[in-house]
């Protein structure tokens, strides 16, 4: 691989390792969120619409499965937001020193990806303490896709809106998107909710959690959405760090 990219990712990982409070939060917060809901939701069965089929699932299982993408979306979004914020001033300088926009973007996405992997693993580990997904590997993959989607969205929002605006957007959007509009308990979801960032990834996730079938279209849609966001992110990042 390109030496610049490997060096930048290496340094990104080292910086990440030197933020113990952040690392602790990224591990503790999934346990807090998912664990809290699993322990506190009523011990009832709930009707959920998954992949067009009406299923009845235990509320605790539902809470574990559902709060996983919520958690990953919020944490990844905030990490993406601040990753670009903290490095923006020095990234200008790296561009001037010889990094191409592609080098920098690939490096930052690589570092972000590692952060998202940490968040995803921490969340999935907590979730599987509470329930066993029907298909674990697709469950993990779908969770990762939710994280990547929101991580890249965090980067874009951070560049466009800045730190304060970005925090407000990341405060609301994962909750609104994942918790409200991709919730399988909903019985009357409007058509336009399929356009929201986490739609395909959360569909794939619930499929993997509660059915034995894997909807390839959902995974394909999630990947396409992530790639589309990545392209937008690259353009926005390029614009922000452009040097003559």
């Amino acid at each position: 691989m390109n030496r610049r990219v490997t060096t930048a990712v290496q340094m990104g990982v080292r910086e990440f390792r030197r933020t113990p409070v952040l690392l602790a939060l990224l591990v503790f917060l999934p346990a807090y969120i998912i664990g809290t809901f699993v322990l506190l939701v009523p011990d009832v069965d709930v009707p959920a619409t998954i992949d067009g089929t009406r299923l009845t699932v235990p509320m605790t299982d539902f809470a574990a499965a559902f709060m996983t993408p919520v958690t990953v979306a919020i944490l990844s979004g905030i990490v993406g937001l601040f990753l670009v914020q903290t490095s923006q001033a020095a990234d200008d300088r790296l561009r001037l020193a010889g990094y191409t926009a592609t080098d920098l973007v690939v490096s930052r996405v690589g570092t972000l990806g590692l952060g998202i992997v940490v968040v995803t693993m921490a969340s999935v580990v907590v979730a599987v303490f509470a329930f066993t997904p029907e298909s674990t590997v697709p469950f993990v993959a779908a969770t990762l896709l939710v994280g990547l989607t929101y991580g890249i969205l965090g980067v874009v929002v951070g560049i466009v809106l800045g730190r304060l605006g970005g925090v407000y957007v990341m405060l609301f959007s994962p909750m609104v998107d994942v918790l409200l509009f991709q919730n399988p308990l909903a019985t009357d979801a409007p058509e336009w909710t399929t356009l929201l960032p986490s739609h395909y990834a959360t569909n794939a996730l619930f499929d993997a959690a509660f059915t034995s079938s894997i909807d390839v279209w959902d995974f394909g849609g999630a990947v396409a959405y992530t790639v589309g966001l990545l392209v937008i992110g690259v353009l926005v990042f390029y614009q922000a760090t452009d040097v003559e």
Binding site: R3, M11, R93, L94, G98, Y99, V243, E244
Partner: protein
């Protein structure tokens, strides 16, 4: 403090005086506000300068006159609204604030930026050894940037600009926070770079150092007023492109000349 010799292995193509390494012609820059009822700030209005190989150029002016903006435009990290900027050769830019990665160590910072410049591992090691010795911060090599004092952080900031031996150095108040010894070492280093044919532009507030410059530009109301520093201390000035006379430049030089003999105070000027 000895300056380690770098030998004749000079990166870049700087080899003769008289070649321009950067020129700016009629550059304009306004900071616009997107909000209604808030003013835009016109910083540069037809600024023109050039820096030649082996030349040390000073850029001076009042606080808020646009010196850092000009330097950002010369470096290529800031857009300009009008005019032309041409560059020849590689650039080393030392911004006023240390734009570094706080959680990397000094060594890691050299490694990252050296890789960016396309330097080999050996070249990075040599550059690091040279600069940590010249600027006297070798004992801090394993410290994270955020744990360094302001002066040491600035040394790393400057080193990042110098390490690849560029053809053009753009230094924005490079000795902020330096102790006296390092300040002198910096000027010795500048002389060495001049002898090698590197073009150096320095934003400085220290008028007493004017004799170290070949040319001084003063930024005033968006224009640059040029003055060549002659051997006989006589004022030698060229009209700028819009034929504005340099009376203001003359007056401040005269006042500074009356005060010569005072010890320069590195890093104690108020930053812009």
């Amino acid at each position: 403090m000895d300056i380690a010799s770098k030998g004749n292995d000079v990166r870049g193509t700087a080899n003769s005086s008289g070649d321009t390494v950067v020129s700016a012609n009629s550059v304009e820059k306004t900071y616009d506000s997107v909000l209604p009822f808030t003013r835009s700030v016109e910083v540069l209005d037809g600024a023109t300068l050039h820096v030649e190989r082996g030349q040390v150029v000073g850029i001076m002016g009042e606080n808020g006159s646009g010196k850092s903006t000009l330097m950002g435009i010369l470096a290529g990290v800031l857009d300009h609204d009008a005019g032309e900027v041409e560059r020849a050769g590689s650039i080393g830019w030392c911004p006023q604030e240390p734009r570094l990665y706080d959680r990397l160590t000094v060594d890691e910072t050299f490694e990252l930026f050296g890789t960016a410049y396309g330097m080999s591992d050996d070249e990075i090691v040599d550059a690091r050894a040279w600069l940590t010795d010249v600027l006297d911060f070798e004992r801090f090599r394993d410290r994270q940037i955020r744990h360094l004092s302001g002066g040491n952080r600035q040394k790393v900031n400057l080193s990042v600009a110098l390490m690849h031996e560029p053809d053009l150095l753009l230094l924005d108040e490079p000795y902020t926070g330096f102790d006296w010894e390092t300040f002198l070492a910096f000027w010795d280093l500048t002389e060495e770079l001049r002898a090698r044919g590197v073009g150096v532009a320095i934003i400085s507030h220290i008028i007493n150092e004017r004799d170290r410059f070949d040319v001084v530009y003063e930024l005033h109301e968006g224009h640059l007023h040029r003055q060549e520093i002659g051997d006989d201390d006589g004022l030698s000035s060229e009209p700028t492109d819009d034929d504005v006379a340099c009376e203001r430049t003359a007056s401040f030089i005269d006042e500074a000349g009356a005060g010569s003999g005072q010890r320069a105070t590195a890093g104690q000027e108020e930053s812009e």
